[in-house]
Amino acid sequence: MKILHKEILARSNNLYIIRLEIIAPEISRKAKAGQFVVLMVNEKGERIPLTIVDKDIENATITLIFQEAGLTTKLLGRLNPGDSLYALVGPLGNPTEIERYGRVILVGGGVGIAEIYPVAKALKEKENQITTILGARTKDLLILEEKLKKISDEFYITTDDGTYGRKGFVTDILEELLSSKIKAMGYKLVYAVGPIPMMRRISEITSSYNIKTIVSLNAVMVDATGMCGCCRVTVAGKTYFSCIDGPEFDAHLVDWEELKKRNRIYQDKEKHICNLYRI
């Protein structure tokens, strides 16, 4: 649970994206692409889920990447090498189904880029042809560009403000790729992680081309072992627990409206606590 390395991956104004390498021998040995951990920063802390971005079995570490958003991620960002987490448990959730699909598109938005990295790596090892589309608000907030470029056969970047890559959204590129008919027929899978509106829009686009699309959902969790049902999502009209049935689901079947609303349950309280701690 001890932090071995810390790196500020990106910074824009007061917004930080941070990478931590944490000693966790058992989790490191077991973790597979798509899985996550739950951690607590201190004994009064909240339990939050974070995707396992990378692992190093030799050094017995796992890598987490997060954007400082709520109180917990901000407190996490203040920890330094040598500090220990209060609690760390995993690997949780089901691993991504890594198969030889053929041509796949991976779309990452914001800090979601960190979450597509382990999946991209695993898909590449299975000899898939990888097209990667990364989107960031601005150039300074783009992460993992080099690492993902290396394993991609085709590689695109968009920024909302046009400071880097193409000005616009990942969905612009996705639509272009798919609207060329021959190409659209060749893509077997789209894997996307990012803000809910991004994943939702991607789902709409790929649904019209009938391309299998997997998303990793960031529902609110407590225990993350199926005990509380806080993370329930509706998929194809049925209720699932994101923590044990997911975190990945078929994007075309997700009730996005419900997810969007459920993720805002504690919005006011989060603002309040961040103001209170002046963080």
């Binding site: 077991k30 072992t225 199926g226 509380c228 049902g229 459920r262």
Partner: protein, 472 residues
């Protein structure tokens, strides 16, 4: 015959703005008077009503002789956690119901039966205060054995206690960051004070039990790996961890909680002390709790306290589809909930939830019920009355209608045979599962039960583990 000695409780006004323990327990004098009431039957029925077979007659007699130490060890022969059981056991359905003073045909113990649970609590607390300890056996045949216990709830703790007393090296693996399982995340501190829980767990540490929190067997470590690490036997006390929902429209609206989530946020994560503790919980003005068991009572009473702490007028309504008599909750909890101001509405079945434009619940549509023929549980089945629809305004709903098996371990361990409810199948004689040297007990065997029933199964498994270790 003398009247039963009433146990002292916090006044309602002192209860509902905090999470302090409500029942204060007997003083020595009160315990003596209550113990004197025991008839010391030649053929005591109470013992048969106890899932772990405590020699109730004997420990009550020892109390009358002021031999509290003796009484403590009499209980500890059969039960490792008298202070916990004295607080949470539904005695009116168990030992007290079996007591000769209970009127025949009664659904639960009559009032005049001996308050066995309060006496047990008195003795358990006496043991804690006086650091009474059960010593580890000196039998060196056991020192070389290592056993893994999965889950630190009532079953796991109990099994660990049984084994550790023999001198077996026990390691308990717990998924959460704190120990105690449902005793920690489920049962609120006003029913089981955290000091008592910590003390009872400390007793295991004194017996050299090792605890590994933040470790999910089936995820972090597999059963096979535990054997490879040198554990010769494994006990699974996984609990019935997964909450059931009603399966009606609108159930995933915001501010509809499972009781497990609501209670975990409060009890485990201390959300009632937000923002000092960082886990949030929402508080409604009109809170609805659905269900009739102890969990529903716990949720309702927590909800009421949350309202009070947040400066709202207490307004919690509990909906139950049968009537008060059929409620599976402990009578004392029902009484406490009523005293504290929880409203009860019986013969009501929720049919759908309606939300506002932001996806928060604002109404529940219900049907009235009447009682029909008895069902498999022996209780009269609620029958919905057609056309009786009515609505209740609400802004927070807690669903407390039961739990089912958590499948985190069983789903990745196909050799571990389960029944149609995904509960683990065991040999009822030995509690051994379909895997050799893997035993199970508690709610993951046979579904939801009481703390003491879980302990009973765990004890049985403990004995089988000891026997099998010696035979191998």
């Amino acid at each position: 015959m003398k009247q039963p000695i009433k146990v002292k409780e916090l006044a309602v006004s002192q209860r509902i703005n905090n999470f302090s323990e409500v029942v204060l327990g007997y003083t020595e004098n009160e315990a003596l008077q209550e113990a004197e009431r025991c008839l010391q039957c030649k053929n005591p029925q109470c013992i048969s009503g106890c899932p772990v077979g405590i020699d109730i007659k004997r420990f009550i007699f020892q109390i009358t002789q002021k031999d509290y130490q003796g009484a403590y060890f009499t209980i500890r022969e059969k039960n490792n956690f008298p202070s916990i059981c004295g607080r949470v056991c539904p005695a009116e359905y168990q030992c007290r119901k079996a007591c000769i003073l209970t009127k025949k045909e009664s659904n639960f113990a009559s009032e005049e039966t001996i308050n066995i649970h309060f006496l047990e609590r008195f003795i358990g607390d006496y043991g804690i205060r006086n650091n009474l300890e059960v010593s580890q056996s000196k039998d060196n045949r056991f020192f070389r054995f290592k056993v893994a216990v999965v889950g630190s709830g009532p079953a796991g703790l109990s099994c660990a206690g049984e084994l550790a007393r023999k001198g077996i090296k026990v390691t308990i693996f717990e998924a959460l960051h704190q120990l105690g399982g449902v005793l920690r995340y489920g049962i609120p501190p006003f029913r089981l004070s955290r000091d008592i829980l910590d003390k009872e767990i400390e007793n295991l540490v004194k017996l050299k039990v090792e605890f590994v929190p933040n470790c999910i067997i089936g995820k972090t470590i597999s059963l096979n790996e535990l054997f490879k690490e040198g554990f010769q036997a494994i006990f699974l006390g996984l609990g019935a961890g997964t909450p059931l929902f009603l399966g009606i429209p609108g159930e995933n609206l915001c501010n509809i909680y499972s009781a497990n989530e609501f209670l975990t946020r409060i009890n485990l994560m201390s959300a009632y002390r937000f923002p000092e503790f960082h886990t949030p919980i929402n508080v409604g003005k009109n809170i609805i709790v659905i269900g009739g068991g102890n969990t529903a009572m716990d949720a309702a009473r927590c909800a009421l306290r949350l309202q009070k702490i947040n400066g709202l007028n207490p307004n919690v309504t509990l909906l139950y589809r049968r009537t008060e008599v059929e409620m599976p909750a402990r009578r004392l909890e029902i009484e406490h909930a009523k005293e504290e101001g929880v409203n009860f509405r019986f013969l009501v079945q929720p049919k759908r939830f309606i939300g506002d434009e932001n996806g928060f619940v604002k109404k529940v549509i219900c049907l009235e019920c009447r009682l029909g023929e008895p069902d498999a549980s022996g209780r009269r089945r609620p029958v919905e009355v057609e056309g009786s629809d009515f609505e209740i305004e609400t802004d927070l709903v807690i669903i407390a209608i039961g739990l089912k098996a958590n499948q985190v371990l069983t789903s990745v361990t196909p050799e571990l045979k389960t029944d149609k409810y995904k509960d683990i199948i065991v040999d009822p004689e030995t509690m051994q599962t379909s895997i050799k040297n893997v035993f199970a007990g508690g709610d993951i065997v046979g579904g939801e039960g009481t703390v003491i029933e879980a302990m009973g199964m765990a004890k049985k498994a403990g004995s089988s583990i000891i026997a099998s270790l010696l035979n191998n």
